[in-house]
């Protein structure tokens, strides 16, 4: 039994010695492989030989010193063998520590494998010279094929669309992919130049955080866009809504007056009103006149909104005390053209003290050429493109047309409208 325990311990020690030696022999400058290893190996083999002699009954043939050694207590044998094991274990651990904390032939590879991104370097013809573990793992996700050429690998990346393990979700200028583990990787390619040589570098970066933040920002932008759209709509309609409320209030008022007029008339017709003399008759007549006028103007407002219109321009010219002459084909449905005439009318009165405004227009090249001039005497420095003319110019140019202001004597506008906007 004793020899079996010693044999088992000795075999284990051989194993430890082999492991420690294998590690040590990579670094020959250390003392262990050259000196201690042969001694430990010899002693362990010596123990094994004795145990085999005991096992096969030839122990009595051994010399007396060997027999005396074997007859020592078992803990002596075990202690020496276990000391060897502990020594080997310490050496292996120390070697691992040294390798981790010192530069050696594997340091570059270790460092590249430890970085969080995938790296691949190749010659200019695509021959891979260096690839780290992460890039190798990523390459296996995209394809089962073994890549020996960086150019082939890059072609695969840029043409990759979707598989069970990855899905293309480009959100930067470089290809990016959402993997099955919900991480997002972006691939970039660049050229590295040495003195007379060029290399290709492909870097895969984990952009999961960036992507998640971008998704969040996009959601927020979408929400804000919808709110912004509503704001724009409100701004656009503020005039309409304000007017609608005013109109409603005044229409209620007009209808009240109509009701009042009907009620009083009915009372008169039924003979309920005594002494229906002249003042009372005038009063109810005035009530009806005003009510009918209000209705009539209400209808006019609807018609004017529908038409545009030139009639309004003539009417305004008459109100302002300036004669308006219009010749040729005027783009009547073009709101900017109407505004241009109106603006010219105001400027002619304010700056040129004009009495008449002439508008000549004709069709040309699919558009309208409009010439507006007055009979006034403008001061050249009096006509500068302020808010009104600037607004007209913007409107004209937005339609693809052009505008020129001249001040020979009065104010002149030359406008070309590319097409008639209805």
């Amino acid at each position: 039994m004793k020899h079996e325990i010693i044999m088992a311990t000795a075999y284990f020690t051989v194993l430890m010695l082999s492991a420690a030696s294998a590690v040590r022999w990579l670094r020959m400058r250390h003392l262990f492989p050259m000196f201690f290893a042969p001694i430990f190996v010899c002693f362990t083999l010596y123990e094994l030989v004795i145990c085999y002699q005991v096992k096969f009954g030839t122990f009595d043939n051994l010399d007396r010193y060997t027999q005396a050694w074997y007859n020592l207590p078992i803990w002596v044998h075990e202690a020496i063998l276990l000391l060897e094991d502990i020594f080997c274990l310490i050496l292996v651990q120390r070697e691992r520590y040294v390798r981790r904390h010192s530069i050696n032939v594997n340091s570059v590879a270790d460092a590249l494998n430890n970085v969080d991104c995938g790296l691949m370097y190749s010659e200019w013809d695509g021959t891979i010279v260096l690839i780290n573990h992460k890039m190798w793992q990523l390459a296996r996700i995209f394809s089962d094929a073994q890549y020996y050429n960086a150019l082939d690998f890059w072609r695969m990346i840029i043409s990759f669309d979707e598989s069970a393990d990855a899905k293309r979700i480009d959100f930067t200028s470089w290809p990016a992919f959402l993997l099955k583990d919900n991480t997002v990787w972006s691939f970039e390619r660049s050229i590295l130049s040495d003195a007379d040589k060029r290399y290709l570098e492909i870097v895969a970066r984990d952009v999961t955080d960036l992507y998640n933040k971008r998704v969040k920002v996009e959601e927020e932008i979408k929400e804000l866009s919808s709110v912004q759209g509503r704001l724009q709509e409100v701004l656009k309609n503020i005039s309409t809504t304000g007017n609608d409320e005013e109109l409603l209030a005044y229409k209620v008022h007009i209808h009240d007056r109509l009701g009042n007029a009907i009620l009083r008339t009915r009372q008169i017709l039924r003979g309920n009103v005594q002494n229906f003399e002249e003042p009372a008759r005038e009063s109810i007549l005035g009530l009806w006149t005003n009510t009918i006028k209000a209705f009539k103007n209400n209808r006019l407002e609807v018609e004017q909104n529908k038409e545009g219109s030139l009639a309004a321009l003539y009417s305004q010219a008459e109100t302002l005390g300036i004669e308006l002459f219009m010749f040729g084909d005027f783009p009547v449905y073009n709101e900017v053209a109407i505004r241009a005439v109106r603006e010219a009318m105001y400027n002619s009165i304010r700056h040129a003290y004009a009495n008449s405004l002439t508008v000549e227009s004709y069709k040309e090249d699919g558009g309208y050429r409009v010439h507006i001039y007055d009979d006034g005497k403008a001061q050249s420095d009096a006509v500068v493109e302020g808010g009104g003319l600037k607004s007209i110019r913007r409107g004209v140019e937005e339609q693809g047309g052009s505008m020129r202001v001249a001040v020979p004597e009065g104010v002149e506008l030359f406008i070309f409208f590319k097409e008639e906007a209805k």
Partner: protein
């Protein structure tokens, strides 16, 4: 007879004002316009004593701006600003433009005639407060003057840094005022606040 010019983009409103003026013995109608910009050229051609000027007229022309120009050229013409918009800056702007009176449009003849009479007697008639409107959970009067200034710039689409530059304050102060308004109104973001303020016509962007 006092010659009155009516400037309002609504035919119905103009008609009602015309009816009021024609029905009175003291006033006569000088003319009616739908665009505030036409008011100055009109005054250059026709004698006018009093103008009833709307703020928001046809083609987004600003009645307050037109009033300022008219006052510059014709300081004797009296101007009554009439509006239904509760935007509180209109009162200050009307005063700055030199307008004699300010009237929130009402349905009723006596209100307007009363204002016109008092204005022509030399009085300056301005309402003490603007109509109160609700912005979210808050009443418009709950906003401080500085908050209103920030809100006005916000409704004009400006960013914090632009608002800070415009109002000569730090961006943090702008954020502080906006957060205060959000808390009062019960909104979670500035866009909701701005939209409601514009919808309620508490602020009229561009005016």
């Amino acid at each position: 007879m006092t010659r009155v010019l009516i400037v309002d983009d609504s035919v119905t409103v103009r008609t009602l004002f015309e009816t009021i003026i024609e029905g009175s013995e003291q006033y006569s109608l000088a003319g009616t316009l739908e665009n505030a910009k036409a008011a100055l050229p009109f005054c250059m051609r026709s004698p006018v004593d009093l103008i009833l000027m709307d703020v928001y007229t046809k083609d987004r022309e600003n009645g307050l701006e037109a009033a300022r120009e008219i006052k510059k050229e014709f300081p004797d013409i009296k101007i009554i600003i009439s509006t239904s918009l509760p935007e509180e800056s209109f009162l200050e702007k009307a005063k700055a433009a030199g307008c004699e009176s300010f009237w929130y449009k009402e349905v009723g003849e006596l209100g307007l005639l009363d204002i016109m009479n008092r204005t022509m007697r030399g009085e300056s008639v301005y309402p003490d407060t603007t109509p109160t409107v609700s912005v979210g959970l808050a009443k418009s009067v709950e906003f401080t003057p500085m908050e209103m200034k920030v809100l006005r710039e916000l409704c004009n689409g400006k960013l914090n840094k632009d608002i800070a530059k415009e109002l000569c304050m730090s961006e943090n102060t702008v954020k502080f005022h906006i957060n205060n308004m959000l808390q009062k109104a019960g909104y979670s973001n500035r866009y909701q606040l701005a939209i409601d303020a514009v919808e309620q016509k508490l602020i009229v962007p561009g005016f």
